[in-house]
């Protein structure tokens, strides 16, 4: 952040360049933003890194330096690895499904002419639901005793037991998480589609009769900047923002149900009062997300054409 803002030497358009008489002035303008980042991001991160090397009693009376033992404990734990692999599968599924369905709905809604705004409002409104509420609604749909989805599954001979059967709970979690995220993707894809110039569409229409091919070769490349942005947002969503949904769906007691790494960090740190172990896990997560973001920007973004 600071590195970028400290490089005013880049050749910009003269008209856009802002001149400051005083060298300190730009820093002064940046100060509130920097303060927020330092206080709410860097400082806690440094604290997490620091306490990840210690075993500490929760009340802070004494701490013992244990080096990398907290990391070794986490990575050697079969349970931790099981949760990590579930997190990976969950993230891929939620990201892929919510992007794919969001895109499909956006394309279809874009084609609708009559009653378009009613459709759009209906599809967007789900986004206004807070994650715990979404989790609560999902939990009711999948409730073992009264859930309509469970009753529907029973017609097909599927004895669904969310909360007891690992696979069933995973299914319900992915379902609710995707459902919650579709409207967000829908809004962005729809506005992306509407930004495709009419002239380009018409030209493509003259050249090619096949709708799918037109979409694949003309519309999709033009949508890529939106899609890339959404990819990053959706991965972050699946990794972090699904916390509320998971918390409500496992009803405070994960037992053998699938949970994600973030939930494990919370569980060990805040419910188990194991600050060192929990910090080590959150540092691991931080490193993974950092690496993922670098990969995305270095390798994926190069293939994207910003119009």
């Amino acid at each position: 952040m600071t590195a970028i803002s400290a490089k005013p030497k880049v050749q910009a358009e003269p008209a856009k360049r802002v001149q400051f008489d005083n060298a300190l002035l730009p820093w002064l303008f940046l100060l509130p933003q920097l303060a927020v980042i330092v206080v709410f991001f860097y400082w806690p991160s440094v604290q997490a890194v620091q306490s990840s090397f210690f075993i500490e009693d929760p009340f802070g009376f004494g701490s013992t330096f244990v080096g990398m033992a907290n990391y070794a404990d986490a990575l050697a734990s079969r349970e931790y690895r099981r949760i990590a692999s579930f997190t990976a599968v969950f993230t891929v599924l939620v990201t892929f499904l919510s992007l794919a369905i969001g895109l499909l709905l956006a394309v279809k809604a874009d084609a609708v002419i009559r009653g378009a705004s009613a459709y759009k409002t209906l599809l967007i409104s789900v986004y206004a639901i807070a994650p715990p509420v979404a989790g609560l609604i999902g939990m009711m749909f999948f409730d073992m005793h009264i859930g309509p989805f469970v009753q529907m599954a029973a017609w097909f001979g599927w004895n669904m037991q969310v909360g007891l059967n690992y696979f069933d709970t995973a299914f319900a979690m992915v379902f609710v998480s995707v459902w919650k995220q579709i409207p967000y993707n829908f809004i962005f894809f729809l506005s992306g589609l509407q930004a495709v110039p009419v002239s380009v569409r018409e030209a493509a229409f003259i050249d090619c009769k096949n709708g799918w091919r037109r979409f694949r070769t003309v519309t999709l490349p033009l949508l890529m900047p939106t899609a890339f942005f959404l990819l990053i947002i959706n991965i972050t969503y699946a990794l972090f923002d699904t916390f509320g949904i998971i918390d409500v769906m496992v009803k405070d007691k994960p037992a053998n149900n699938p949970i994600t790494l973030v939930y494990k960090v919370y569980n060990d740190g805040f419910r188990g009062n194991d600050l060192g172990g929990s910090s080590a896990q959150s540092v691991i997560l931080m490193v993974v997300v950092f690496a993922l973001t670098i990969v995305q920007f270095r390798f994926l973004e190069k293939r994207i054409h910003y119009g």
Partner: protein, 433 residues
Amino acid sequence: MKTTASIALLALGFSSVTATAQSTGITWWHGMGGANAEVINQLSTKFNEAQSECAITPISKGTYEEALASGIAAFRSGEQPNILQVFDAGAATIINAPGAVIPAEDLITGAGHTFDREAFIEGVRYFYADSEGKFVGMPFNSSAPIMYINTEAFEKAGFDVPKTWEEFEASAPALKEAGFIPMTASQLTWQFTENFFSRHNIQFATNNNGYDSVEGTEMNLTDPNLIHMFEKLAEWKDAGLFAYYGAGWADNQTPFEQGKVAMWIGSSGSFGGLQKTASMPFSATFLPYWDSVEGAGTNTFIGGAALFAMSGKSDAENACTASFFQFLTSPEIQKFYHQATGYVAITEAAYELAKSEGWYEQQPVAEVGIQQLMLPSGEWSKGYRLGFYPQIRSIMEREYNRIFAGETTVQEAFETIKTEGDALLARFAQTAG
């Protein structure tokens, strides 16, 4: 006329402000919600009205776990409340942090009151005490795992309510024949593990169930009797005599409320709620035990939570905390709390008072929990003190789900819990050391 009235009101308001300014304020963080939080507010109001030196303010911090986490975070930044409510499984965390709390008994005697350990009922006396029996936490809301009975189911099946698991095995098939699920249970960790040890008077952990030291404490989770209990549960589940709906409390309670289940093991504190939700008449009895285990039939550990006086407060505030603890244990207040919530009365005097007023003749179910806690205690039914215990419970919940999903055997599950649990205890010993 109107002005006189408003002046009078103003004066009244002013006098009440000065009254609070003179009194010492103390804070109480708790982890109760809904109707139980309301009762806590009522208790506080009663205390504030009963005297003028102290004013207590109760603040709900969410669940038990959230209350403990908030209390810890506040303590680290020097903003701790005077009183923190901590649940049974979190007791080791706070008691093993030397200097975080003032033992309740020291606080009360230090403020010039007398303290009589014997006034508390048997099952409550040791759980939050140190290994010498000194009260560290002040027992507050206390409960026992008891078995609720769908009376219609037993009438249909023509059997008596079982006292032991042997009797359960004899009557369960008839209950199934009559169209009921014979049994469900809401928290296996509490009802079939911790209290399996207390009810059968079997040692739960080394170092005197963890009371004597944190160093090298190990849990007795591969005890053949415990393994046998869970093998039976798994067998009963396969035979349709026991139904298991996961680790969630309500999922296992709901079918009982709907009248589908003959016996449900819950908490004595569930009584108040059940009265509103159960669709059929019900009664309750003690948690069953295996007659075949020698010495079985002892009392159970208390569940629920205790109040801890946090350190780092002024003498005046500590004196107020002490008088609030005194106030809470007075028979009248105990009786009020017992009747308003369904939690058991923790002193003999309060129990006798409720009894003499005929409360248990109207509400026989309300007496079951306290009677179970008053059963003769054994060497191993006094309590346990295990660090990181909330996490150990999570491991148990995970493995129990796996047992009933058929993913593991009972033996393997308990070996896993023991390995992971003992590792956590060793880790806790490191933090406390």
